[in-house]
């Protein structure tokens, strides 16, 4: 932290140290210390190389009448030493990197399991009780394992504050685990290029102080139909399931039609037919989005079959109906 005194305001990192975001998981400290070990080794060699280079540049610069001095053209001891010493150092680097890596990649047996589905360009975190949320909520001080799958292309789930990252690959499951050491909200982002809105595939990790806080949050959150009016619940799904990425509320079409004034309007389809957008139409568009494509749009919407209940869909219809 005292390092910050010497860093110009422009370069300063308000939230944490000079190099990294705050250390908020059990592995972060280890990763950072491996980083700083390598950094010191590199700094040593960099100063050595550039120092010698500058020294030679000054000392042996061309001066009229001074010829280059003939020196030995090789020296086995010298050459072996600058082959062997770096080799030994890299063995140490490999070893510390390897041991921390095993810790980072081996999920502990007792672990809270959350499954993750990534799709363009939204995250869905599914809790053991079936509740799905677009932000990741976890309790502090508890092992959490994410089992991740992708609905479309490669994504990568990265939480910089936790120093963990793992690709989310379609057609297989990948896993990562962590144990948060700090309550608060941290960015969680997609690190593997996934198309147009790759850079907007950012959400938050919310770390709750105690398991009790977390359980209370989960209970409240998952009670949506009891706690909220259908329109409010629909708005929640609109925001948390990624509808918001492609459907605006202000009448400006994005990748999909805007919800403003959509209900009961006439929709024209690419196959030439048309239909009034009633409740059944909206239901079908959510469950079988490719069946009828409104003219002017591409068939890119994923299906939500099996991911939304009838009650959820009813709420979404109520929400869309309310967008006059």
């Amino acid at each position: 932290m005292q390092m910050k005194l010497f860093i110009p305001e422009l370069l300063a990192n308000a939230e944490a140290g000079f190099w990294f975001p705050p250390q908020s998981s059990t592995v972060a400290e280890n990763v950072d210390s491996v980083y700083f070990f390598i950094l010191w080794v590199c700094t040593f060699f960099f100063v050595l190389i550039v120092g010698l280079m500058l020294l030679f540049m000054i000392k042996y610069r061309y001066r009229p009448g001074v010829e280059a001095v003939k020196t030995n053209t090789h020296n086995l001891t010298l050459e072996l030493s600058w082959s062997v010493i770096p080799t030994l150092l890299t063995v140490v680097m490999f070893w510390v990197g390897f041991t921390s890596y095993l810790d980072m990649r081996t999920p502990p047996a007792a672990s809270y399991e959350i499954s993750v589905v990534a799709k363009k360009w939204v995250w869905a975190f599914k809790y053991p009780n079936g509740w799905i949320e677009s932000e990741l909520h976890i309790p502090k001080g508890e092992n959490v394992t994410l089992t991740m799958a992708s609905d479309d292309v490669l994504h990568s789930l990265w939480i910089p504050a936790f120093r963990t990252k793992m690709d989310v690959v379609p057609g297989r499951y990948t896993q990562q685990w962590f144990n948060a050491t700090q309550a608060g909200t941290f960015p969680l982002m997609c690190a593997e290029y996934c198309g147009q809105k790759h850079s907007e595939m950012i959400t938050n990790v919310v770390v709750h102080e105690t398991r009790g806080d977390f359980d209370k949050w989960l209970q409240n959150a998952s009670d949506i139909h009891k706690n909220k009016t259908p329109v409010e619940a629909g708005e929640y799904f609109y925001k948390s399931r990624g509808c918001i990425q492609c459907h605006s509320l202000d009448g400006v079409p994005k990748n999909g039609p805007s919800f403003k004034g959509l209900f009961d309007s006439e929709r024209k389809f690419t196959d030439g037919t048309s239909r009034i957008a009633d409740a059944n139409y909206i239901r079908q568009s959510i469950l079988e989005p490719q069946s009828q494509i409104v003219t002017g749009f591409r068939p890119i919407m994923p299906t939500f079959k099996g991911q939304l209940t009838d009650e959820d869909i009813t709420a979404i219809i109520a929400f869309i109906k309310a967008q006059k």
Partner: protein
């Protein structure tokens, strides 16, 4: 003052290096260029092509950096941005860096360095250039047909599902691959069969060792990229499941195939630049290269180890833990040969007489930048730190330090070192050095802040970003502008010299390898008789001659004291 030599007459008695007829003026008209079999002319055409591609890719880079001045939209839409970084990467990789040193500079210099009249297969050499043009045309077609937004890596399944011109671009890559293979094959055969009397393997200039190692990688790795590209084309066109899980394929398999080429390709880009630096540092320090055998062997070692480390691009891809550990371990082995080279170059400068010519300035910039580029690779080879740094700006900074700051700065060093030989003209050292300083400062200002962006949590290929990263992005963009302007100044200085430059002597810097023994520019057939080759690093074998303004062999200087040219001026 004896008159300088008439000598359009090929029967002239003068030794070949003092004749005025050279490869540039021996024949005229567009046909004499487009159907030439002369390696030097082909090299020049490559150099022009590569330069155009460099400025196109550079323009894209400047647009990208401008967009990143703010997280909000400035110039480009998100789609436009994604296309821009894809084409920037693809053009710079396939059209600029890979052919840069080997096909452009190597083509011109390699046969002359060998004392040969041409490469082993001149027609294949011309064919390689036309394939390059053809491949480049496919890239431009992809640009016209709706662009390309997959990233230069073409990762599946995104590249299978996107609606942009993936097939066109992949065919371009396939064709460019053949161009690269042709050049590599030519170099290998030429080096094996056409060395002059006296040039044993260990008397070859190190640039040739580097080109040889590069050529080995080119012919062994490029076919894998070609096949991978074709498989992807087949998958897109006929929906045969290879990489797309929706069709029963495996997307991670694509990454293995892709990096099996593309990691060795990194050494196709850096090895020739290392070869250039070995030459430039020795010549401009007036010193015998230190540790010749270690440098030569380390080139071959890099070529071999380079094939065994591709998995380090995939530490977070979902490959198995054991595989990741093995790849991490092997990856470190590739850092050792690079370290050996750096220390050997430094020791070469020891007790030398260092001339800060433009070429040497670029070589010193290379040393500085490559040290950072190489050392930051250690963070990425180490498993624990790579998990955090993978796919961030740290990686972007690292590979630009190696690919741009080292490979291209190596190319710049090569261009300035051999420019008098290639064009027969001296460029302005003053403006050359100013441009070099600008490139050096601009480069570091562009890419050093990106290391910080990466460690602090900025992923690569992001169109918009969190507000706390803006300051560093602004710094980086300012650097990019400086870098762009300095590159333009460099090009302007060189082009100006072609029209207004002083005539270059045969050996302006005092090199002892064979290319400095023929005139600048060389005659069409380089040497009438294969010259005798000795140790190419005995700098004492040439001495400076005031009147010629360049270096001449010691024998001539001694025998002809006071004579005007060290030529075969018979009357003296």
């Amino acid at each position: 003052m004896a008159t300088v030599v008439d000598s359009s007459n090929p029967k002239s008695d003068f030794p070949i290096q003092y004749r005025e007829l050279n490869y540039l003026n021996c024949s005229k008209g567009w046909k004499s260029w487009f159907f030439t079999l002369d390696h030097k002319r082909i090299g020049i055409m490559y150099l022009i092509g590569v330069t155009c591609a460099f400025f196109l890719g550079g323009l894209f880079a400047v647009l990208l950096r401008t967009e990143l001045l703010s997280p909000a939209r400035i110039l480009l839409s998100a789609d436009g941005y994604n296309q821009m970084f894809t084409l920037h990467g693809a053009i710079m990789t396939f059209l600029v860096i890979i052919p840069g040193v080997p096909a452009a500079i190597g083509n011109i210099i390699l046969p002359v360095m060998l004392g040969a009249k041409d490469v082993a297969f001149p027609r294949m050499n011309l064919g390689s250039f036309y394939l390059w043009m053809f491949g480049a045309a496919f890239f431009l077609a992809a640009l016209a047909l709706g662009g390309l937004d997959t990233g230069w890596t073409f990762y599946t399944p995104y590249s299978i599902t996107t609606s942009t011109a993936v097939i066109t671009a992949l065919l371009g890559v396939f064709i460019l691959g053949f161009s690269s293979i042709f050049t590599g094959l030519n170099f290998i055969v030429t080096i094996h069969t056409m060395r002059p009397p006296g040039m044993t393997w260990f008397k070859m200039p190190l640039f040739l060792w580097a080109l040889y190692a590069t050529a080995l990688i080119q012919i062994l790795a490029t076919p894998v990229l070609g096949i991978t590209g074709l498989l992807l084309v087949v998958e897109r066109a006929f929906h045969i499941g290879i990489f797309d899980p929706a069709l029963g394929g495996d997307p991670v398999l694509f990454q293995h195939f892709f990096w099996f080429y593309s990691h060795p390709a990194v050494y196709v880009m850096i090895l020739p630049a290392m070869g250039v630096v070995s030459e430039v540092i020795a010549v401009h320090s007036r010193k015998h290269i230190f540790g010749y055998r270690f440098i030569a062997y380390s080139s071959i070692a890099i070529a071999i180890f380079g094939f065994l480390v591709w998995g380090h691009h995939m530490f977070v891809s979902g490959q198995s833990k054991v595989v990741a550990v093995v790849f991490s371990a092997i990856t470190f082995s590739v850092s050792i040969p690079s370290a050996i080279k750096v220390f050997n170059w430094l020791t070469t400068m020891y007790k030398g007489s260092i001339r800060f010519t433009t070429a040497m300035c670029y070589a010193l910039a290379f040393l500085f930048i490559f040290s950072i580029g190489g050392l930051t690779g250690l963070f990425l080879a180490t498993l624990a730190t790579d998990i955090h740094l993978h796919d961030t700006y740290f990686v972007v900074a690292h590979f630009h330090y190696v690919m741009m700051g080292s490979s291209l700065v190596g190319l710049f060093a090569a261009v300035h070192h051999w420019w008098p030989k290639i064009t027969g003209k001296m460029f302005s050292e003053f403006w050359g050095r100013i441009a070099c300083l600008g490139v050096f400062l601009g480069f570091n200002l562009t890419f050093f802040p990106q290391f910080l962006l990466g460690t602090r949590g900025m992923p690569r290929r992001y169109y918009t970003y969190l507000p706390e990263f803006q300051n560093l992005h602004i710094l980086s963009t300012c650097g990019a502008y400086l870098l762009g302007l300095s590159s333009a100044l460099m090009a302007a200085t060189l082009i100006y010299s072609v029209y207004r430059g002083k005539k270059a002597p045969a050996n302006p810097w005092g090199g002892a390898s064979l290319e400095w023994q023929c005139s600048s520019p060389p005659p069409a057939n380089n040497f009438d008789h294969p010259p005798l080759a000795g140790d190419p690093y005995i700098m004492e074998s040439v001495v400076y001659n005031e009147e010629i303004g360049g270096y001449v062999p010691v024998e001539c200087q001694g025998a002809k004291k006071g004579s005007v040219t060290a030529s075969g001026d018979k009357e003296a």
